[in-house]
Symmetry: C2
Subunit: 228 residues, 2 copies
Amino acid sequence: MTTRRVNLNTESVDNYLKAIFALGGPEEERVSSTALADRLGVAPASITNMLQKLAAAPVPLVEYESRRGVRLSTAGRRRALEILRHHRLLETFLYEVLGYPIEEVHAEAERLEHFISERFEERIDAKLGRPKFDPHGHCIPALNGKMSKQTSRPLSDIEEDGEFVVDSISDRDSVLLKRLNVHGITPGVRLRVLMSSRGEFVLRASGRFKSLQLSLSDAGAVRIRSIG
Amino acid sequence: MTTRRVNLNTESVDNYLKAIFALGGPEEERVSSTALADRLGVAPASITNMLQKLAAAPVPLVEYESRRGVRLSTAGRRRALEILRHHRLLETFLYEVLGYPIEEVHAEAERLEHFISERFEERIDAKLGRPKFDPHGHCIPALNGKMSKQTSRPLSDIEEDGEFVVDSISDRDSVLLKRLNVHGITPGVRLRVLMSSRGEFVLRASGRFKSLQLSLSDAGAVRIRSIG
DNA sequence: GGACCATTTTAGGTGTACCTAAATATTTAG
DNA sequence: CTAAATATTTAGGTACACCTAAAATGGTCC
């Protein structure tokens, strides 16, 4: 029986790689099955299955030891960054060229990222003038897979009142995204932050009158950096 | 045992409906399994399977009697036209906005047509100024599914030398499409047609020096109308 | 009008990506 | 250090869209 080779160019594989990349964080730590199951909305058993497949490929996309979590191989990271590049270029394109509302770009990009060709990628990149950031403030990986490191930290890490610049905003919760947008909280904006009593954050964008209160978990969706 | 309901919102179903629509022609004649198998590059047995499923749905997408061929139901036709609209809007968009070479728009549109949202459709339609024709000269179905009738005929039907206007060109053969394009044979262009000896067609676009010889089957890909 | 041929359908299988339930390993808590 | 709780894997199934091989049907030709 020859080892039968499986097809790893599927939407599903894309999504697993993206999730592992996202959950691994900047240090690319090992990611647990449960965390993946949670993120992908899939039963833990399905995760095990897929990870075994990804690890057993002729060119493995992940390093996986049973019960020890998983992390991307070089090939897997390359693929993940390629998809992330598609995603962020698409978001930028939908926002800039097609005039999408900011809170809708993510869902559309999430579907299309798996199906656009290299040519499509190239054409929108050119049309947008080779952008470095998407409309949420996230860095767009370069063609060669290089991506600059984050110098920002989550708003939820702040412990004292202060003024900051909005670095980026997670695109995963469209309701929150819209709420932030309505209050002028968008990448690059100057932000006054007050810690309220019970671990809530009170924000006001520069030039705005209305403040906005955010829960700790919602504050995790906003990344900030120091002014300057 | 309750009748278990199946999911009919798949790329595959889209492709079957498109194929039935295309093969049925303007009269929407019944289409045979073999013709579909051929067009979709799928075994005849698979066709039977899918047609049974499409016909058995709570809202049937086709009318199907065993061994008598198939045709679209009202719901099926609506879906087919929706996808055709996506396809042609995408082609126009790729050509006009992203500057794709004409012979590449089809393949990309064919993949993306299944995944774009209503919003995407609306936005590109608006951006293009609500176009009525795609870059191959094909009519883009309106949102309500209306599509004007063809007044053109295939070049392959011509029996005597003459001058015509190019109406449209099939996008299915990208090599031919490119060849025609290079010779200036594009929708709206005035065309001189000479019948050569063995059922071949010799074409020259107005203002061009070089002629082009086309086989009968290739000539079937070009539709023409009378001058005026 | 019956035999042959092409078309179509039935029957039974494959690979992908899921699922649930049960078994097993690991971590944590007392 | 062991027992309970938690995390993970194995085992066995499902739906989808294909496949091949074999059976059934239908049209045509003498």
